[in-house]
């Protein structure tokens, strides 16, 4: 392994970059293969989750029950040997239930002391199941953890160990008694991945694996330290100026009345993406570029991750609902309308 810091600008040896890129691709393929032993199909979902893990972000999985969302995250935790915890959100859940709380502990000699009992949020991979069932108060308890990678309970601040990744799921069907995620929290998810039904050919394999005698065993192929190292490699991928400009224009294209918005956006969008969207575009594009064995971000990489980045950052207005214009339509229109910069 090279001891070079990939973030160093002074190092100009391209062989270091090639070695790191090869390592990244190798680990990614190993993890992908292990997850594939338990998870049938859903290639886009698995790629999106892995991209979010390597980009250092969080991912929101949306799909109807029974599609393997929980299985995916659990399998990923086993393959990467990360501490995994699952939080099943309910409407009566309080922030202390997930962050942790002070409990009274009896020590030797009859003494009593207060001790902080960590909640399930203190883990590497956190599966937040049905996050839209929790109250806004509980949902906002996740905000600090997701953004700052720390938890504050009273006077105590607990730094969450890296890598820390929240993979939340939500059910698009059950809207009764749910609390839609606020925009501030939605913005903190790097990707929103839609989990769909498996194909007909995949049903047979799913049934064979899940109703057979033995369950698939997932081996540990990586660890937390390696994931942290790979995250640094991702961040070292450079972005040319024209790709950066394209990412900015895409984000501005979702904002009504901006210079790059189309008529559909002006009429149908209430709130466009924030600059976090541009950050997410570049991080996701870097992962894509490395997986394609390139050493810089291309416009095609940004366009490939744009739907997953923008679909939860764009809020349509009432007119869009009345005219049956979805966010997906808006994002497609933005991708079609915003052209890459020709040249300085």
């Amino acid at each position: 392994m090279s001891s070079e810091n990939p973030a160093s600008v002074a190092s100009a040896d391209p062989s270091v970059a090639r070695e790191q890129a090869d390592r990244f691709v190798s680990v990614h393929q190993k993890i992908r293969a292990e997850v594939g032993r338990a998870m049938v199909g859903q290639d886009e979902v698995v790629d999106g989750v892995l991209a979010a893990l390597f980009a250092g972000g969080h991912v929101l999985l949306e799909g109807v029950p029974g599609l393997g969302k929980t299985l995916l995250v659990r399998t990923l935790g086993q393959a990467v040997d990360l501490q995994f915890s699952r939080i099943q959100f309910t409407p009566d859940m309080m922030p202390a239930d997930i962050q942790g709380t002070m409990v009274l502990i009896e020590s030797e000699g009859g003494a009593h002391r207060l001790e902080f009992q960590e909640g399930p949020l203190v883990a590497n991979l956190v599966l937040a199941d049905e996050i839209n069932r929790a109250t806004p108060k509980t949902q906002s308890a996740l905000l600090e953890a997701m953004q700052e990678k720390q938890i504050t309970v009273g006077k105590r601040t607990i730094r969450l160990t890296e890598p820390f990744c929240v993979m939340a799921t939500q059910n698009p069907v059950e809207q009764e008694g749910t609390y839609p995620l606020p925009e501030a929290q939605l913005d903190r998810f790097l990707f929103k991945v839609l989990v769909g039904y498996p194909r007909e050919a995949e049903y047979a394999e799913i049934l064979r694996r899940t109703t057979g005698r033995t369950d698939a065993e997932v081996a540990k192929v990586s660890n937390g330290a390696e994931i942290v190292e790979l995250r640094r490699i991702v961040r070292a991928v450079p972005v040319p100026e024209h790709a950066e400009t394209y990412a900015v224009r895409l984000v501005m294209g979702t904002q009504p009345k901006s210079g790059y918005s189309s008529k559909l956006v002006d009429d149908m969008v209430a709130l466009g993406s924030s600059p976090r969207g541009a950050q997410a575009l570049l991080l996701g594009a870097k992962v894509k570029a490395l997986l394609a064995r390139r050493f810089s971000v291309a416009i095609e990489d940004i366009a490939a991750v744009a739907p997953a980045v923008l679909r939860h950052r764009v809020m349509v207005n009432f007119r869009a609902h009345a005219e049956n214009v979805s966010v997906e339509d808006v994002v497609k229109d933005v991708l079609k309308t915003v052209v890459a910069p020709r040249g300085a």
């Binding site: 190092s11 002391r113 390139r294 050493f295 810089s296 020709r342």
Partner: protein
């Protein structure tokens, strides 16, 4: 570093070559597009020339057309706009990076060339940037040999030919229609007109005209009087002075219309140079002339009976002083200007006459508009229940939904979402039985205990050892004596009971 410089130069060269190809293609496309858009304009100037020639032929033979000028005005706009479009595109330079972007796209290099060019321009490069630069080198040869496929530009030849042919036909028609005879003394003015008198025939025409006197200018006049509007114009010109005087004498109901120098806005305007009048249809004028004799016995001076009717039909009321406020339908009269009526009679209506003259007015207006005095409110066709226009809240839904329900139902149909009824509860008068009472917690002013600051217990919490005696021995003695006494009492009672039973 030298390799970097050479590499950068090579990329610049390749990019510039592709960029110039793109620029040329864009210019061709812009020119073709502009020609396609402006080809129909070739027809405009000849069409205008035809109109002018027709007008000159019919009205004023001094006005003619010149084929040369027609051609110039036909071709100039198209040519100028096309050249402007070409210059506009040419001024927008196509940069070399755009050429590289085109190469990346056509050769499917996923931005390698452009990224390499960007990183080479930076002072320091990281390992990844160097790797990206090296990644682009194997593709340079292919990029250098690449030629941008020339896109076929569809020149609008067919459209140009058809429009040109049409323009030629119109030009010839204009030349054919242009008057050939009739010169006039006003050839100077005609010369100012570019369509006129640049040709020798026009000059020859003008020369004998200069020898004629001013009387000859009257010759076209008899032709003019033959036109349909001419008679009315002359009659209007004659009637104009009387109208002015009549207007000054007019009074309204309140006399507000009196003004020494008041002139009606509908009076013949001298500034316009000629007068025009409004002539209602002859049938209606005859009717209106006949009827007032029957219904209006009292009339002021009937100096010009025709003016009054024309004024009525014109709809103009300014200066007349009538408060009737009649709104005439302009469409019922001919095309002459409404404001230039030359009627010579004015007959302001009084109150009695207003009521009786509703029919007259509507007929004078052509019967197309109802009288504004008939202002009954529209019939309310809403489904109402209850008393008059007020809904009965106790109707229990009979008679249809209430206004509020209807409004809510329409809103739910429009929005596509059900909007439930909201029923406001209202407590009945009398004692209210409260089955559930909400008690709000009151804040406690006690200082919060700090658990950590409390000292540990001095005594154990769990069950005491038997050997550990209380600190107060008298209490132990007291309890012991009590149990001993209780045992003794119990034993005595048992012995007495056994004795009572006996053997």
């Amino acid at each position: 570093m030298t390799n970097d410089v050479l590499l950068r130069a090579e990329l610049d060269r390749i990019g510039a070559k592709i960029a110039s190809s793109l620029q040329r293609a864009r210019i061709r496309e812009a020119a073709a597009a502009r020609l396609r858009a402006t080809a129909p304009w070739l027809v405009i100037a000849p069409a205008v020339a035809v109109v002018i020639a027709s007008f000159g032929r019919l009205v004023d033979p001094r006005i003619g057309v010149d084929l040369l000028w027609i051609a110039v005005f036909a071709i100039a706009p198209t040519l100028v706009l096309t050249l402007l479009a070409v210059f506009e595109v040419a001024l927008r330079l196509t940069h070399g990076s755009e050429g590289l972007a085109r190469l990346d796209h056509d050769l499917r290099l996923e931005g390698r060339l452009r990224a390499a060019h960007d990183f080479l321009s930076r002072a320091e490069t990281s390992s990844f940037q160097r790797a990206a630069i090296e990644d682009a080198v194997p593709h340079l040869a292919r990029a250098a040999a690449y030629e941008v496929p020339t896109t076929r530009v569809e020149w609008p030849i067919g459209r140009l030919l058809s429009c040109s042919a049409l323009a030629v036909v119109l030009g010839v028609l204009a030349a054919f229609l242009a008057p050939t005879e009739g010169g006039s003394a006003e050839t100077v003015g005609a010369r100012r007109d570019p369509f006129v008198a640049a040709s020798p025939t026009a000059q020859r025409r003008d020369a004998p005209a200069r020898e004629r006197g001013p009387t000859d200018s009257k010759k076209p006049e008899p032709e003019r009087t033959k036109s349909p509007g001419a008679e009315t114009k002359t009659s209007a010109a004659k009637a104009a002075p009387s109208l002015d005087s009549k207007a000054r004498e007019s009074e309204g109901k309140t006399g507000e219309g009196i003004s020494a120098n008041a002139t009606p806005t509908n009076a013949a305007s001298n500034s316009r140079g000629f007068t025009s009048s409004q002539t209602p249809p002859s049938d209606k004028t005859e009717k209106t002339e006949g009827k007032p004799k029957k219904v209006k016995p009292k009339k002021p001076e009937k100096e010009v009976p025709t003016v009054k009717k024309k004024l009525d039909s014109s709809g103009a009321t300014a200066g007349k002083g009538t408060g009737a406020g009649s709104s005439k339908n302009p469409g019922s009269t001919e095309w002459e200007s409404k404001d230039q009526t030359t009627s010579d009679e004015e007959d302001p209506l009084t109150e009695d006459e207003e009521v009786n003259d509703e029919d007259d007015e509507s007929e004078a207006r052509g019967g197309l508009q109802p009288s504004l005095r008939d202002r009954r409110p529209a019939t309310n066709r809403d489904l109402l229940i209850g008393f008059g226009n007020q809904p009965n809240p106790d109707a229990n839904g009979r008679g249809g939904p209430s206004e509020q329900k209807k409004s809510r139902g329409v809103a739910s149909l429009v929005l596509g979402v059900p909007i439930p009824d909201h029923v406001k509860g209202q407590p009945n008068p009398g004692r209210t039985k409260i089955t559930q009472e909400r008690v709000l917690p009151e804040p406690d002013t006690v200082a919060p205990l700090a658990a950590e600051s409390r000292p540990p217990r001095s005594s154990p919490v769990a069950a005491r050892d038997e050997g550990a005696l209380p600190a107060e021995p008298w209490l132990h003695t007291l309890v012991k004596n009590y149990f001993l006494a209780a045992r003794a009492v119990g034993a005595a009672s048992e012995s007495s009971a056994s004795k009572a039973k006996g053997p």
